[in-house]
Amino acid sequence: MADGETTDTELAIIGAGPGGYVAAIRAAQYDLDVTLVERDAFGGTCLNTGCIPSKAYITATDIAHEASNAELMGVSANPEVDLETMTEWKDGVVDQLTGGVEKLCQANGVNLVEGTARFVDDHTLRVDGADVESIAFDNAIIATGSRPIEIPGFSYADEPVWSSTDALAATEIPDRLVVVGGGYIGMELSTVYAKLGTEVMVVEMLDDILPQYGPDITRIIRSRAEDLGIEFNFGEGASEWTETDDGIVVESETEAGESSTYEADNVLVAVGRAPVTDTLDLGEAGIETTDSGTIPTDDRMRTDVDHIFAIGDVAGDPMLAHAASKEGIVAAEVAAGEPAAMDVQAIPAAVFTDPEIGTVGMSVSEAEEAGFEPVVGEMPFRASGRALTTGHTDGFVKIVADEESGFVLGGQIVGPEASELVAEVTLAIELGATLEDVASTVHTHPTLAEAVMEAAENAAGQAIHTMNS
């Protein structure tokens, strides 16, 4: 290895997604010399092929769908969707954000290296495809993220078979789409395509969508999806697909061996994501992965090798961008000698279905399992003035608290802007706020956020706009 192509750094970070780039900037703020290696695109899955492009399509298709379904409000329209322009707009958003990430890193003095890194030993990385061949580091953070899981018989290399990445880069709107998997990615993209006019068929192995949520939540989402024309076939696993003169046929099987076939133009496989740890030669650094490929970490995000950290999807569930960012901040601060730790009390989650889901902390049953005697307050959006004026009244805010102390333990929100509303409940949880604290805080009228306050009041038997049971 040529000496001129070796660089020394205090902190090497592999992967510039929402975990890695945030860690890089925070570490630089603590005056560490940081080198950030990215092999694909700054911003990672989130900005390039995940959160951001999917939300762009969700918003755009919502506008089209809303406009054509507003006769009740006296608005009649038949909007024309130009997928090419929509995609150009989405690409523009992505470019602006990824460019911003790169500029922010540079402005903070982070050294950017474009290439593929792997471990040579526990203090050295080899980088392929870059001017820098080798990086000698004091500390390292592994932030290589995850990739869509393939299932047998469905290779993303075949054109009709889509991963979520492909579904967010389509050049044509398919007439018929089979979606394998009723998790959050499958449901968000099903909704996008249903609103673009595609006939969507969801094939799910389990007996309901969104397995992490209870029936109080999934019932609302499924019912609305069915209104949009999405069909569901539960208890079936996709087994193979074949090309026909008129598109493709996807075959599925029940556990009992009964098979069904579905005609389609494309099949989207969205059965989960697997950590990207197989390209790193982790063994050379003395790090072992679990059977599923994730890297075990402690509450400081350290791996078994103390000066090497792992954050984000490679560190396992929850595979969420904001969890990765927080873990990145913790790892960077620990590397800088700060007393940081991954001590958050709750990580919120949002699903951008129609309506949205926002959840955080404990459900009632989880609170009971944890030894609390929970009390629940609920506010249905049909009792919210603002919800009525948006035309979207499906759903509710539920807030779970400890009856004795009043401490807020969790919240489940289904409805318009649930992804935003959950932030207030999350703050209450982190601060150790009580129901009374939330209920006593004045909320702007007329807003959806009032529903959070009303739910807190309801838990205390003092809601104004609903009857207190």
């Binding site: 402690d298 350290r302 078994d304 090798v305 609390f372 004795e404 009043g406 601060l431 604290d437």
Partner: protein
């Protein structure tokens, strides 16, 4: 078996056995003398078992979760030099091999804001063991700082059998939740929230034999000094009463007779205190409250006056936090709190002595063969006779009276 036995030491509170709830070290781990190596829970509290010596823990003979009798062997240690733990950086390590001074993240829900949780880590406090004094038992910054101070103090004075981690005081159900969200609680002399439910495990003060000493100081000169200084204090926005001057006299005398500035645990182990934190017992509607002036010996008179004024006001309003009423090394009970002249109060908490001030009043005093009316301050001192020699008690009272009667002498050692 390699090494010397590690046996379960006395657990305090009369407990003869306890459940070993967690090992804090792995076999092969080097420990320092006195480093906590295991946690044992009794009915009353969770206590940390210290390493009996520096060395390498060679064996753990008891599984976590087992009940162990006092004196039973729980593990073995090979004595030797302990080595710094930072060599862990280069060796693949288990998750438990975090630096020794690093506190972990509790598995269970913690009711404390993020900045307080971070502060706890910074101060090396396990937040799971901190009792929250805020509404519903929420943990605030003051609670963490008080816990850090409690943990730091025993190290001043050689090995102690146990460092109570206080963990048991924290159980969610016990954390005075019956008061709902009423804000800070008034605090009783023992430092406990006055409304805390039964079953709280703060050790009851053991019945100790104490002896008393009484005297009266003529404080005409002290009053004159106060009157002279008051306008200057007023310029700084502080009203100067006699109490801060009396406290100054007490602090000066404690420096001369340090045996009274000490704490003693249930086993009678004395902890000679270097810092001087003066508790001031004040009568409130909820009984006595004892706000604490920390490092009173390092506080200038005017600042002492301001701090005492603030603490007493808030104590009377019931607005003290538990942390503000914790950690006294010596207690002074204020006039009017109890009686007019002489009274001997039980010594609160783990202190070794307590001084009670009577009301300042004109009383007959014999001067030059004549009885004259003079401003006088009755003093009652109680001392733990196990710890404080009667001659030391007498010397203390004599010293305080001396400073009160010739207050200008306070300037000689003034801070």
């Amino acid at each position: 078996m390699a090494g010397n036995p590690i046996t379960l030491p006395e657990l305090g509170g009369g407990a003869t056995e306890g459940e070993l709830v967690a090992w804090l070290v792995e076999p092969g781990e080097t420990v320092e003398d006195d480093q906590p190596i295991a946690e044992v829970e009794t009915e009353k509290s969770v206590v940390e078992v210290p390493a009996p010596a520096a060395g390498t823990v060679t064996e753990r003979l008891v599984e976590a979760g087992s009940t162990v009798e006092v004196g039973a062997e729980i593990g073995r240690i090979e004595p030797g030099e302990s080595t710094p733990t930072d060599d862990a950086v280069d060796t693949p390590a288990e998750q438990d091999d975090a630096p020794a001074d690093e506190v972990g993240v509790p598995d269970e829900r913690v009711f404390a804001p993020p900045r307080v949780r971070r502060l706890a880590r910074e101060l090396g406090v396990d937040i799971a063991g901190v009792e929250g004094s805020e509404a519903g038992g929420r943990i605030g910054e003051a609670d963490v700082r008080a816990a850090a101070e409690r943990e730091a103090e025993p190290e001043d004075s050689g090995p102690k059998p146990f460092t109570p981690s206080g963990k048991s005081a924290v159980s969610k159900r016990e954390a005075d939740s019956d008061t709902g969200v009423d804000g800070p609680k008034p605090v009783t002399p023992s430092g406990e929230a006055a409304v805390s439910p039964a079953g709280s495990d703060d050790a009851e003060p053991a019945a100790v034999a104490y002896t008393s000493q009484y005297d009266t100081a003529v404080v005409n000169d002290l009053e004159a000094l106060r009157a002279e200084l008051d306008p200057h204090a007023a310029e700084q926005g502080v009203e100067l009463t006699l109490l801060p001057l009396v406290i100054k006299a007490v602090i000066r005398t404690l420096a001369d007779v340090p045996a009274l500035n000490a704490t003693v645990d249930a086993d009678g182990t004395v902890d000679q205190r270097e810092a001087t934190h003066v508790g001031i017992a004040v009568a409130t509607d909820d009984g006595l409250a004892v706000p604490v002036v920390e490092d009173a010996d390092e506080t200038a008179l005017v600042d002492l006056a301001a701090e005492i004024g603030d603490l007493v006001d808030r104590a009377e309003a019931g607005d003290l936090t538990a942390a503000e009423a914790d950690g006294a090394t010596f207690t002074v009970t204020t006039p009017g709190a109890i009686g007019d002249e002489y009274a001997t109060l039980p010594i609160e908490g783990d202190r070794t002595a307590s001084l009670t001030l009577g009301a300042i009043d004109h009383r007959p005093v014999v001067a030059d063969g004549e009885v004259v009316a003079s401003e006088t301050l009755p003093l009652s001192l109680a001392v733990d006779s196990r710890v404080v020699d009667p001659t030391e008690a007498a010397a203390f009272v004599e010293g305080v009276v001396g400073y009160l009667e010739s207050p200008n002498r306070l300037l000689l050692g003034s801070v």
